[in-house]
Symmetry: C2
Subunit: 545 residues, 2 copies
Amino acid sequence: MRGLMQDFPLLVHRVLDHAARWHGGTEIISRSVEGPIHRTTYAQLNARARALASACERRLGLRLGSIIGTMAWNTWRHLEIWYGVMGLGAIVHTLNPRLFTDQLDYIINHAEDQWIFIDLSFVPLFEALQEKLPRVKGFIIMTDAAHMPAATTLRNVICYEDLIAEGDCGFVWPEFDENTACGMCYTSGTTGNPKGVLYSHRSNVLHGLMCALGDAMAISSRDRMMPVVPMFHANAWSIAFSGPLSGAAMVMPGPKLDGASIYELLDLGKVTITAAVPTVWLMLLQYLEQNPELRLPHLQRVVIGGSACPESIMKAFVETYGCDVIHAWGMTEMSPIGSLGTRSEQVARLPESEWWKIKLKQGRPPFMVDMKITDDDDNVLPHDGRTFGRLKVKGPAVAKSYFKGEGLNAFDADGWFDTGDVATIDQYGYMHITDRSKDVIKSGGEWISSIELENIAVGCSGVQEAAAIGLPHPKWDERPLLVIVRRPGAAVDRLAVLSHLQGRIAKWWMPDDVVFVDDIPHTATGKISKMELRARFSDYRFPAT
Amino acid sequence: MRGLMQDFPLLVHRVLDHAARWHGGTEIISRSVEGPIHRTTYAQLNARARALASACERRLGLRLGSIIGTMAWNTWRHLEIWYGVMGLGAIVHTLNPRLFTDQLDYIINHAEDQWIFIDLSFVPLFEALQEKLPRVKGFIIMTDAAHMPAATTLRNVICYEDLIAEGDCGFVWPEFDENTACGMCYTSGTTGNPKGVLYSHRSNVLHGLMCALGDAMAISSRDRMMPVVPMFHANAWSIAFSGPLSGAAMVMPGPKLDGASIYELLDLGKVTITAAVPTVWLMLLQYLEQNPELRLPHLQRVVIGGSACPESIMKAFVETYGCDVIHAWGMTEMSPIGSLGTRSEQVARLPESEWWKIKLKQGRPPFMVDMKITDDDDNVLPHDGRTFGRLKVKGPAVAKSYFKGEGLNAFDADGWFDTGDVATIDQYGYMHITDRSKDVIKSGGEWISSIELENIAVGCSGVQEAAAIGLPHPKWDERPLLVIVRRPGAAVDRLAVLSHLQGRIAKWWMPDDVVFVDDIPHTATGKISKMELRARFSDYRFPAT
């Protein structure tokens, strides 16, 4: 028997409708790409998103299922494009300007983007790239007529404000199935080509609700929220949806992510909650250290994710600036939030020092993320904080496949997505990533965490960077090799490193060798490229013991 | 194009799964019907709910779509029944013991309840009623063998704990469509027979998420939540879902709702958030006044709904006990929450006295409730805080029809549900109920609020109760008649009442007459029965002016 409740599809433009109707006067403050601070409201943003939608339909020919690209900073205009285009039933594919250009043209062609909306910053990039993008019909430059570049070689250029001016702000959103695609983001895979993740209206609305909950970001209409995390980075960690559905004011940092600029907006926007990767916070904290008279009186919560956050950053926010820090973990494939390190009542009873150990972990999954750790045979492993296994997840905002059916081996028959991470889960439910599963070192059937080895090794005096990789071993299958870059002028040697490790790790984790190199290879996103490193050491043989 | 996100139906037992897996040690504390305080955890509750489900399937023959009744207080057992039965895809129909017995047998027969789960308190009631319930196969008494009534004339009696003991706590929940019905609650209509509202898994999960949000009840795993509002009252205001999905500890008050008992549980359970109708809070506050040494140190938020809350109750909580009060409004047809009076940032800037005027209103709708006020021709009226119109709502947790297709005139072609209330909405989005639409007095095309007339009239010295009704008038269509019950011994007269009203209401709102009666008729739920009053005055004619 079916319930007798209304059919109310979860469509993302309903989020903006809610914000416009019930928080119509609430502000969206942006640093514009042109320079000045720009202020608008949800009511105005809603009207412009509708105008944009109608103009996109008429002039650009966008329909249900059309795909457009955006390469843009976080501004009110980028929000308008998300809501306006998604509201049509078309798809916004966010492009990360930090990708290598060959990756960019690959993903634009692979996604079959019809038009690309770009900020002024990216005009030169696309002038150079457009020849490789034969299917792209043209480019919309996200500025007004006064700021349009005097001469550009881009084909079919449209000025964004002219496009909006053609539109009808009374445009009525079409209704369609909530499983309709609305957003697309490619993962920068370390192996093979990038793969497209295709978000749906339903997944974005549910994920937005999930992220707004009290054990996630706890967002309300009393908040003023600044996503420093770019909208082109993993669906902006939900904030373009979780903020408006909560009626929070939005503060958009535009193109300037340096410490001084971020501080200026935190202060000017009276920001209460913000989110970014550790690097951004490091820059902010350095700026604040150089300006000791500055405080963060409005800021309550700092969400940190993208990579594991060093304790020093978290402690500085909590102890020096009185803000809480929420350590978050996720993946593009998870929309992206998978877990957050907020305090549960049980953990709240622990002493502060115990809580800090937990706070450094990746946190607990909110409702609508299912999570398990398993061994290689898919047996579920215990939540004891020590046993580590493959981290697998499930949920309405977790991918079930990649665009065009690629990468199917990441999804098992029961629908669990293998994150590629290796993790522990403790008795309180807090998950801790210990490695990537392809980097974990499998020695005699047991697993050694390469990341833990590296983290301990960089604590050794004279070590600048360390990478641990598993290399074939006749008896143990794999054994760890530790690769080290010395600090300039340092003379640290093999024995010094090994004796630093002694007592800090289990005996059988001890690397079979330590080698010194001038540089360690990195991926485009700044992570150590274990793949390249393993290739470099493919002929290496461990010394006989 | 469809998104490539996982199919993850929103099923209510996933809520309990989440609580059991990630908050397994979190407590559910109940005052048992047998007397003692009972403690369990989400992990245990989940195991018992699964055992119950398997036993219900095997012994009671429950299947997808089967309907059972419950007449029970708020305890861990009632939670187990909700989750266990709903998890099977069967439907829990909650029965309100405060209904008249002829309404009870009507709704049990109308719903076609197959079995009824009852607390010990209700054995005599069903012994008397069972002859009128020929389709009910039997009764499960929610207690253990030791407390089973020695002799009962109830047919096919099963002891609840025996039933659980037969079950398999490793039972695997079946998967089914999220639109499957799971709960049923009849509205106690003032006209005609009660009508059944049929909740779905999807509506309950979405409504639970909505109620947990920061502008609703702001629930987290740091909370300890006590629903004093019974689970048989309008879907327990979401708390059986919004609490567990947030990982909040639950404190269940069982059968004792008097001031002393409620205080005892607030204290013993270290309750941080609670919810009930004003009457309960009045009893608690009276108890606290009699025991001035008592405080409420843990309690942070008191949700008050069911009827408009007097300012004195709200002020006592805020000013004397330091708790915040959330004024909520809803209807059984809305699952039931429609709006909550939490503070938005814009309103937070107003002076405290202005905020109090707003706090007494019924609040703002959270995301997923759409709301509008219209005139009789369905034109949308402005949000100016003065214009009042018919209040209509829409949302995924709002009914689209009643059980067996009754009451269709409440739903319009665009899917809006006419609440039957008349309301204003102010510039900040706060809604204020000014009347029931069938009670509003229509004079010369304009509307007069009967409730506002009554509220002002009871402020007149010597007036105990007042009711305003519209009666036919040859020129104005309707004009107000004010019906008054004097306080014992008071001599207040027509002129005194009219002069009290003067200056407090618009001139054209002035009642055409004031009559004094010994009693005003009330409905089963304690509201003034305007219908009966109008019938009583059907032959009345206004004096010639």
